[in-house]
């Protein structure tokens, strides 16, 4: 982020030099940059701030300010279905993050540390969930699980002779599995980036001092990889909690996550309660960002 530590550049310290030298562009150029930046930040934040403000509005409909109230938050906390949805989101996020982290880390180790011919293919494959539009992923998973349900139905029929009423694999299982599928590559990318910077000599030093591969991994590699793993975990957690489209297509009876709940509420009409929920989610996200920055600061 700042000056280079080796002396290989011509002795220049890298400064944040303006593109346009102060003399030629003058204050106008710098002012222009500042104003664009301020406008953009305003653009980004005004809707959010307005949203938060109106979550305290005592008017039921419309955006006319009628007075401060916390009643919408009370309503939100008393809303059983909403709380249930929030809990479901957390559970699914927690489970899928755990799985993603393990799988993502193992895969990162494999891809970074070994040479094998099919690597470019895997490289591309691991990148694909990042690139493929969510709608396609959601739809394809829905079809896939439908097929799976049908397959299970046939097997059960074949085995027991009875046709089961309603076989639907969709629900917890499919949600977790789908969430892992799209968040694992992000964990993988994060951990792999950390691994790439990893000083291999440290592991050799550990082995030189008598630690076999397993001990080296748990005493040296993993602890030093931890910040990257945690970053990846936070990312996976966020992706899971925020996910709407894929969850929408893949969920089953009674497993509505929070975004799905919000969506259906929105379909019925805009209420300040939705603002309250949104504000809560916003705070949650801010918490995650702070956490990830704290972790980043720890490692430098």
């Amino acid at each position: 982020m700042s000056t280079p530590t080796s002396g290989t550049t011509l002795g220049f310290k890298r400064r944040s030099q303006p593109l346009i030298p102060y003399e030629t562009a003058g204050k106008l150029g710098r002012f222009g940059l500042l104003s664009i930046a301020l406008l953009t930040f305003a653009f980004l934040y005004v809707p959010i701030i307005v949203l938060v403000i109106f979550s305290f509005n005592s008017a039921r409909t419309g955006a006319v300010w009628q007075g401060f109230t916390l009643s919408w938050y009370e309503k939100m906390l008393g809303n059983e279905r909403l709380i249930e949805a929030a809990l479901k989101s957390l559970i699914i996020a927690g489970v899928s993050t755990l799985i993603s982290v393990v799988i993502g880390t193992l895969t990162a180790l494999a891809m970074e540390r070994y040479r094998f011919r099919s690597k470019p293919i895997w490289d591309g494959l691991l990148y694909m969930p990042v690139i493929v539009p969510e709608i396609v992923a959601g739809v394809s998973l829905a079809m896939f699980f439908g097929l799976l349900s049908g397959g299970i139905r046939s097997i059960v029929t074949a085995l027991t002779g009875e046709v089961p009423d309603d076989v639907d694999v969709r629900g917890f299982f499919t949600l977790v599995v789908s969430h892992v599928a799209f968040s694992m590559p992000f964990v993988y990318l994060t951990v792999r980036a950390r691994l790439a910077d990893f000083d291999h000599a440290l592991e050799e030093a550990a082995q030189d001092l008598g630690a076999n591969e397993i001990r080296t991994f748990f005493r040296i590699t993993l602890p030093l990889l931890m910040p990257g793993v945690i970053s990846g975990a936070l990312l996976a957690l966020t992706l899971s909690i925020d996910d709407f489209i894929i969850s929408f297509f893949v969920n089953g009876k009674g497993w509505n996550t929070l975004p799905i709940y919000i969506w259906s509420a929105l379909k019925q009409g805009v209420t300040p309660e939705i603002n309250a929920v949104s504000t809560a989610l916003l705070l949650f996200s801010i918490g995650i960002v702070v956490l990830s920055l704290v972790i980043q600061r720890r490692q430098t």
């Binding site: 000599a201 050799e204 030093a205 008598g210 001990r215 005493r219 040296i220």
Partner: protein
């Protein structure tokens, strides 16, 4: 050239070959490193010295040949089962552990009792003169201090052999010189074999008991610093160690230990010839005369010596304080001559001047005729 193995040696490489894909990094190297020796492996980048070190440590396995430590063949034994320790070029200190935890790591791995660990770590830190640093983290320490921690971490395990991979490379000049002396006295104090890899020939000459000069995967010569310096066995070694002048030509005569080389310009030079066992160079063989700058003498008048006396023209005179470096032209060839300024240089007639003629001589014993 292969070394004759003495009775007990700490490390031995027998006809070791290591390839990486198509590249042969180590090409049939045989070495015997004696107990309690300070042994240097010297050569330019890519010569294979580090690969040899890594094979001793156990990070690489030879494609053919064998590595012996204390007489035992190592085979496929992994690094963590070998009783050798390494000081890495980048030190490789564990950033998430304190100095004490770093140093105690090897003991921990071996299951040494905690009370003993504490004592031995203290001793090791005292040995490298860092007693107060136990609770610090590597990133809080200077390069020199980190290096000593790396040393302590290796030595605390009392290995039979200590391997050092260009450990002084990252230090500045002054610190380097200090550490060279420290390492040398440390080795005498601890009394174990040190195998030291470096590309700095001055360093190797200063510190080692014996040096192995390597190039392109081959071990060219093994000997004491004096042997390597005064009697290089090939052009590469003569060139790599110190400075020397080369004159190419053909052997025109051999008398006992001395041979005469005639250059293309028709000049004759007499020097020692040291043939490899089994070789008998004859007249007509292409050869190179190697004569080091400090071994030559420049004079005003023609000297009495019969052999190796030439009239030369002074091209440039360089003053370095402790010595004077004169470049002369000998029959069109450029020759460096170094004279120590053993008297005061304030005398206006002390220095030769550009364009002057002078007489250059050297003793036949100081010239080397190389056929390799």
């Amino acid at each position: 050239m292969p070394d004759t193995p003495p009775a007990d040696c700490a490390v031995e490489l027998r006809d070791v070959v290591k390839k990486f894909g198509d590249v042969t990094a180590v090409d049939h190297v045989s070495l015997a490193i004696r107990n309690k020796e300070f042994f240097a492996m010297l050569g330019p980048s890519g010569c294979g010295k580090t690969t040899c070190l890594r094979m001793i440590a156990g990070f690489e396995r030879p494609n053919s040949g064998e590595v012996y430590i204390n007489g035992e063949a190592q085979g496929a034994t992994p690094a963590f089962e070998r009783n050798v320790n390494t000081v890495f070029q980048s030190y490789a200190l564990f950033p998430h552990m304190t100095v004490a935890q770093n140093v105690s790591f090897g003991l921990e791995m071996r299951g040494v009792a905690p009370a003993d660990i504490k004592r031995r770590v203290g001793e090791a830190l005292d040995l490298v003169r860092l007693p107060q640093m136990a609770g610090r983290y590597p990133k809080q320490m200077s390069g020199g201090q980190q290096q000593r921690v790396a040393l302590a971490r290796a030595l605390v395990n009392r290995p039979q052999v200590l391997l050092l991979d260009e450990p002084l490379g990252a230090l500045d000049q002054k610190l380097r010189k200090e550490m060279q002396l420290e390492l040398k006295s440390l080795q005498t104090q601890v009394g174990i074999t040190f195998v030291f890899v470096t590309h700095d020939q001055e360093e190797a000459l200063t510190m080692s008991d014996r040096i192995c000069v390597m190039s392109q995967g081959r071990a060219l010569q093994v000997g004491t610093p004096v042997e390597i310096y005064e009697r290089p066995n090939c052009r590469f070694v003569a060139d790599f160690i110190g400075e020397t002048n080369f004159v190419d030509g053909k052997i025109t005569g051999i008398e006992g230990e001395f041979a005469t080389v005639q250059s293309a310009a028709g000049l004759r030079f007499v020097g020692r010839i040291d043939p490899a066992p089994g070789q008998r160079p004859v007249a007509g063989t292409a050869a190179t005369l190697s004569i080091r700058p400090e071994k030559m003498v420049l004079a005003d008048k023609r000297p009495d010596a019969s052999a190796n006396a030439y009239e030369v023209k002074v091209i440039s005179v360089g003053y370095v304080g402790s010595d004077t470096r004169v470049v002369v032209s000998l029959g069109g060839e450029r020759v460096d001559v170094w004279e120590q300024n053993s008297v005061s240089t304030l005398d206006p007639n002390y220095f030769f001047r550009t364009g002057e003629t002078a007489w250059l001589t050297f003793k036949p014993d100081n010239g080397l005729v190389l056929t390799a």
